[in-house]
Symmetry: C2
Subunit: 232 residues, 2 copies
DNA sequence: CGCTTAATTGAGGTTAATCAAACACTGTGG
DNA sequence: CCACAGTGTTTGATTAACCTCAATTAAGCG
């Protein structure tokens, strides 16, 4: 797909419909189109903070805690916006999980322009608060949940975000490996694998190949996630 | 201190200096002044999302993961702004760690008004991104660090935020209990206590009473936090 | 000074990590 | 289309870190 179409996709997702064409053009001039194959981290080593629109594909935002430990801070999919810090005390990188396309902006330039257009600033803020909210949920998972609860939480979240509902079931084609899941949940691949086995044995889900997960009992899986009942 | 002074404090911290007096007045009309004693959660059971300015005191933002497990998602101190969600799948509450004063806003009303005033929206966005960044760092700690690294990270962070530097040392008067520290770091009070003992025995810090911690070797403590060297 | 609560210390148990090996998927070449 | 190679995943045995339970000590406060 052409770059112009990618920008239009961005505009539809992020910019308010009534935005002036000059503002529209300004954002367009700030956007850099970036393509990435699976495994690429095309925005590494940026000197300044970036704001990245995921036009197509799937990504992980990875923090390297030490040479042999990494933590995945968030996954992002098409139409998501990612705030990518320049490398500070922990180094972050945005890695494509599959062939992907991005529109990358310098955060300061982008926010400057957004500031003039209240609708844009508002949308960015709204999305930042969603990211914050997701990150808080992740903190709860990482701080206070068992391996089984972590995997169940992960799967129900992914079902919401990228699953395709099928009657009472939900099919997820996971773009990330077991290692990625482990690095997201603060576990090892072995533990993730064992928990998959347990959930499979208990008929809460089925797997087929490496990436397809079919949740056969959504309610039971949500129970395993250990969330409080909404009215608790 | 009078409510009016608290609002002025808020205006100084958050609102841009050139803000029109009508906008100033609008924010003032949206603000609810709330006082809390240590242990209070005066904003619990709110129906809608809140934005809370901490005028004085210290708070913990707590998520209840289940009846007997809680995770502290963030600490906030004077002049901080907290985004407090209405109770959803996990229930959050903002608890005062000491006698505190807040200005509370309905998030939707506040953001509506902020949207008209680009400077305000920008400041809120800036602060939200700081919160997001802190939360990401917390995810790294919770997902991939040992008990010792967690406590060292916590202490260096608190030294930055509320510590008072003294030559080569840094004195912190912690407003939170060992339980709070444990609930923030995803550990138990016993483990936190043991890690304090180790760091004390190794002469990286001294403690006096329950709340005073003097970091005597800042560099060594930062090493223990397991951060990557900045240029790694 | 004594009471109450928080913090520390100790012993033993549990969960998940580590180390190691077998197996299965996916893609390639015959 | 099948066999093979290479990698990713699963399974198993052992170990280590942290948790749990229990007891002791210290801090704060009337």
């Amino acid at each position: 797909m052409a770059v112009a179409d990618r920008f239009e996709q961005f505009a539809t997702a992020i910019l308010p419909s009534g935005l002036s064409s000059s503002a529209h053009a300004r954002f367009r001039s700030l956007a850099r189109h970036v393509e990435a194959a699976a495994g690429d981290a095309p925005l590494d080593y940026m000197e300044h903070d970036q704001i990245v629109f995921v036009a197509r594909g799937a990504t992980k935002l990875v923090a390297r805690a030490s040479l042999d430990r990494e933590q995945i801070v968030a996954f992002h999919f098409a139409d998501d916006l990612v705030s990518l810090p320049a490398r500070g005390r922990h180094s972050y990188s945005l890695v494509a999980l599959q062939e992907s396309e991005f529109l990358a902006f310098s955060a300061s330039e982008f926010l400057n322009s957004a500031q003039q257009e209240s609708g844009v600033a508002n949308e960015i803020l709204r999305r930042s608060l969603v990211s914050l909210s997701r990150c808080r949920e992740k903190s709860i998972i990482l701080g206070r949940k068992t391996a089984q609860e972590r995997l169940a939480s992960f799967l129900t979240t992914m079902a919401d975000r990228i699953g395709t509902p099928r009657e009472t079931q939900c099919v997820i084609d996971l773009p990330m490996s077991r290692r990625d899941i482990a690095d997201s949940l603060g576990l090892t691949i072995e533990t993730v694998s064992r928990q998959f086995t347990i959930l499979r044995d208990q008929k809460l889900l089925e797997t087929s190949g490496r990436s397809i997960v079919t949740i056969t009992n959504i309610a039971a899986l949500e129970n395993r996630a250990g969330h409080l009942p909404a009215a608790a």
